[in-house]
């Protein structure tokens, strides 16, 4: 559905939803107008200038629902773009398209819960969490977590930390 809306049903697939080393910066004052202009020029003709700032939040909104519902694998990429909703530039648009390319190759991904219990006979819970260090423009870090029950994900998230961590140890502790 989301892919259809962007006319990308048959888009080439990519291996990752986002380049982990990507630098995403907020659009700024003067350059912002240029960015907008470049964007609308280089995008397909059906995207006018205003259209661009409207369709970006709508696309991210759709992707967020997917990330919340059944696709923890795109959570990080989507939440990172989420902070540029109100003022997107070309780099954000490109990154969003990259997620769509990734999705087009992984349409059948979902979460599978299994009936076989672990040998102990008890349900098995596992939780993972980690955090990056100062990879955002404002030097904040990003936390991520996932909880599994018998190997199936039941809860997950990716969130920009609210304070600036002074070390990677502190970042993982936030």
């Amino acid at each position: 559905m989301i892919l259809q809306k962007q006319s990308m049903e048959n888009a080439n697939s990519v291996g990752m939803p986002m380049d982990p080393a990507i630098k995403l910066n907020p659009s700024e004052g003067e350059s912002e107008a240029n960015h907008r202009e470049n964007c609308s020029k280089s995008l397909a003709s059906d995207y006018s200038q205003e259209n661009f700032s409207k369709s970006f939040p709508s696309l991210i909104g759709s992707l967020m629902y997917l990330a919340v519902a059944t696709r923890p694998d795109i959570a990080y990429a989507v939440y990172r773009l989420g902070s540029f909703m109100s003022n997107p530039n070309m780099s954000h648009w490109t990154a969003a398209k990259c997620i769509l390319h990734y999705l087009s190759g992984t349409k059948d991904y979902g979460i599978t819960y299994r009936a076989d219990k672990p040998e102990s006979g008890e349900n098995h819970f596992k939780g993972y969490s980690d955090a990056s260090y100062a990879n955002n423009e404002d030097l904040t870090s990003v936390s991520g977590y996932v909880f599994l029950m018998n190997g199936g994900a039941i809860s997950w998230g990716s969130k920009k930390q609210t304070d600036v961590a002074l070390s990677s140890t502190e970042s993982k502790d936030m």
Binding site: Y65, V68, A69, T70, G110, I111, Y113, R114, A115, D116, K117, N123, M149, N150, G152, A153, I154, S155
Partner: protein
């Protein structure tokens, strides 16, 4: 449908919020139902919002097609769609019905109800009028459905295939 946009806050309604089941709860219950070999069924309450009584004193013009020309107005006893408080009142009504039938809402997710019997356990999750039913054996599930059908006008959707836009498939 009522013209909810003409309602005045404080006069015609107060709170309008209502909880829905957490997605994590649904995921956890689906995972649990598999290892415990529980039955899972889905039901949908018809005209859910029409079930609840209204606390406020509300009047509306006679609806088109049902106007007797007398110029009199209708006093609303029960809720209508588009009333500001409709969603909240439905949730309160449903909660009250379940509690009177021996169900207990979860401490961590108020839209998840459970009931323990000697024959096993039953769980209901509520997303507005969309219910997921879990029961530890088929007889329990059958009785549970009968019970709900005698309390509400309700559609039996069988094995769940879709809940809040998420497709479910059990093999």
């Amino acid at each position: 449908m009522a013209k909810g946009y003409t309602q005045m806050p404080g006069m015609d309604y107060t709170d309008t919020f209502a909880p829905v089941v957490r997605l994590e709860t649904i995921c956890t219950l689906l995972a649990l139902a598999l290892t415990e070999n529980w039955e899972i069924q889905q039901m949908d309450v018809k005209g859910a919002y029409l079930n609840s009584k209204i606390k406020e004193e509300l009047y509306m013009k006679q609806p088109e097609g049902y106007n007797d020309g007398s110029g009199r107005v209708c006093r609303l006893i029960k809720s209508l769609y588009r009333l500001k408080q409709a969603g909240r009142e439905w949730n309160l009504e449903f909660n009250q019905q379940l509690e009177s039938h021996g169900w207990t809402p979860s401490m961590v997710d108020p839209c998840t109800y459970s009931r323990h019997k000697t024959e096993g356990i039953e769980i209901i999750t509520v997303w507005v009028n969309d219910l997921l039913l879990f029961a530890s054996n088929p007889v329990l599930m059958k009785n549970l459905k009968h019970e709900l059908q005698s309390t509400f006008e309700i559609t039996d959707l069988g094995e769940p295939s879709k809940i809040v836009g998420i497709e479910i498939d059990r093999d």
